[in-house]
Every structure is written in structure tokens, then in C-alpha cells.
């Protein structure tokens, strides 16, 4: 489907994680909001409620999610269910929902399609230096849990990728690597 670039000036990226989810609201060239939300116990229900609050508050024109059901995806069953519920939420609010698999995201950001979330986070930090450069998490060591801020960068990456794809700038992307 060819998407109309003028129609989607306000893009909400949502990146579910084991803690809750990260979100990013991209408005034209700027980040209008970003953050992460953690939930305990009935995580999916709480996450859906909070995403609905974001939708009602910011009135995004499109929501971008990770395609957790894509072939090769290793996301947890709960995350896959959450993605389906978020899709239903978008439909109920008449908001188009776009999906990108992790593989697509990596192919977008890296010439050879291979890279780490840390590299993506650093690239995003460079794209939005005033907002996010200070927030790029330190490189994760084997004994460390994933930094909560990584959820935000995942969400920004999805929204950013959608914007670049829709605006047709993916013909000459600033990709990482040789």
C-alpha cells in the first residue's frame, strides 16, 4: 500500500518489552514526546490502557508496532498477544497501524542488515541529539539487564523508520556500516 506522506504527520511508535512498553511521538521532524511505562501483574491490560491514554491525549495519525508474529520472531507469547491487542486498539480508534519486523528494522538501519539494538540507539541519539543523545544507554555487558531506556529507542526507531519510509527518503538512507 502506498501511504500518503502528508496524512501521517503525527506518528506514535510503541515498543512492548518485558517491563511494559516504550513510546515515541514523532511530529513531522521533531519528537513531541517519548518515554517508557512499566507495568506489573496484568501487564497487557495495563499496557493497553496506557497506550489508549496516549492515543486519546496525542491523537496520533498512525501507530507503528513491531511485527512480533513475523517469521523468525522470538518475542514472548505475552508480547505477541499484547501486539494483537494494540492492533485491535488502533482499529477501534480508527488509527492505521503499521508493522515492521525486527529484521526489517535492522535492514533499514544497517547496510548488511546486521547490527545491535545498541547501534540503533546510538544512531537514533545522533538523529535527535537535543532530545535523546544524553539518554543513550551504556553498552550492555553480559551480566547486565537491558536498560529501561532501550524501550524508548526501540519505539523511536519504529516511528523514525515509518516516517522515512513514507516520506520516500529510504532511497538514500543514512545507514550504518560499509
Amino acid at each position: 500500500m502506498k501511504l500518503d506522506s502528508k496524512k501521517y504527520d503525527r506518528i506514535l511508535g510503541i515498543a512492548p518489552s518485558s517491563r511494559g512498553f516504550g513510546y515515541a511521538l514523532l511530529e513531522k521532524e521533531k519528537l513531541a514526546n517519548w518515554g517508557s511505562s512499566s507495568a506489573s501483574k496484568d501487564k497487557n491490560t495495563k499496557c493497553v490502557m496506557r497506550v489508549e491514554e496516549l492515543i486519546l491525549h496525542f491523537e496520533p495519525e498512525v501507530m507503528v508496532l513491531e511485527d512480533t508474529g513475523a517469521e523468525g520472531s522470538r518475542r514472548h507469547q505475552r508480547i505477541q498477544e499484547l501486539s494483537q491487542r494494540l492492533l485491535a486498539l488502533g482499529v477501534s480508534h480508527e488509527i492505521p497501524v503499521a508493522w515492521f519486523s525486527r529484521e526489517q528494522v535492522m535492514q533499514f538501519f544497517f547496510r548488511n542488515g546486521k547490527g545491535t539494538k545498541q547501534d540503533v540507539a546510538q544512531h537514533i541519539g545522533e538523529q535527535f541529539p537535543e532530545d535523546l543523545e544524553m539518554m543513550v544507554p551504556p553498552k550492555r555487558r553480559t551480566w547486565m539487564n537491558e536498560d529501561y531506556r532501550m524501550d524508548i529507542f526501540d519505539a523511536v526507531a519504529l516511528a523514525f523508520m515509518f516516517r522515512e519510509a513514507v516520506h520516500g527518503q529510504d532511497q538514500s538512507p543514512k545507514r550504518i556500516g560499509a
Binding site: 503525527r10 511530529e27 519528537l31 513531541a32 514526546n33 518515554g35 491525549h57 532530545d131
Partner: protein
């Protein structure tokens, strides 16, 4: 349908500067952070002095901080200017009436043209 711009961008500016709502409330002169929260959630518009304080804190012009609100007001003022421009002149045409007509035309050309018309 979503409006072209959010009513204000206080939240993103505050996050950019790594300030808490309590910090901003203190800088603005509010006793608690709840008013800042209400401004950020678009449930309450700040007064003029508070808006100026936000400009000082975030080093961003009020029209950019409150872009959606500014746009709304701009459209309304432009629509009124177009109405005023259509009213017949009370005085004989002279340099002042001509200048006034040009002023109203330039104000009327601002914003989108679907308000009050």
C-alpha cells in the same frame, strides 16, 4: 481528525531539559506540580505570566511552546480581520484608511481560512 499541532509542547521541552514537574513548578512560582501537570495534559491553559516564565525556562518562544493554541488564535484573529475588512469605511478614503485596509488584508491572510467565515 487530529489537529495539525499539539496545543503545547511543554512536556517535550521539559523532558529535553531533564527537569521534573516539581522543578518547573518551583521555577514558575507554583506551590505544587499539579498545575504544571494540567498544562502539560492540555486541561488548563496557563496565564500570561506563567507562559512568559515557560519561555524563560525553556528558552523557546511562546508561539512555539504553545503552537497549537497559537495556531487556533491566529485563525480566529485572521477570520475577524476578514470580517472587519468587509465592513464599509466610516471615513473618507485617505492614507490612513488605505493603510488600515492593507493591515487587515495582511492579518486576514494569516492562518487557515475556515474559521468564523
Amino acid at each position: 481528525m487530529a489537529s495539525p499541532q499539539l496545543p503545547n509542547y511543554l512536556l517535550s521541552n521539559r523532558k529535553r531539559l531533564a527537569l521534573s514537574q516539581g522543578d518547573v513548578a518551583f521555577l514558575v512560582g507554583h506551590k505544587s506540580a499539579s498545575k504544571v501537570c494540567r498544562h502539560e495534559r492540555f486541561s488548563r491553559d496557563p496565564g500570561f505570566e506563567t507562559a512568559l516564565a515557560f519561555e524563560v525556562i525553556f528558552q523557546t518562544q511562546i508561539r512555539e511552546l504553545f503552537a497549537g493554541l497559537y495556531q487556533e488564535i491566529e485563525n480566529e484573529v485572521a477570520a475577524r480581520a476578514r470580517i472587519l475588512a468587509t465592513r464599509p469605511e466610516q471615513k473618507k478614503p485617505n492614507w490612513r484608511t488605505s493603510h488600515r485596509r492593507q493591515t487587515l488584508a495582511s492579518i486576514g491572510a494569516l492562518g487557515s481560512k475556515d474559521t468564523l467565515s
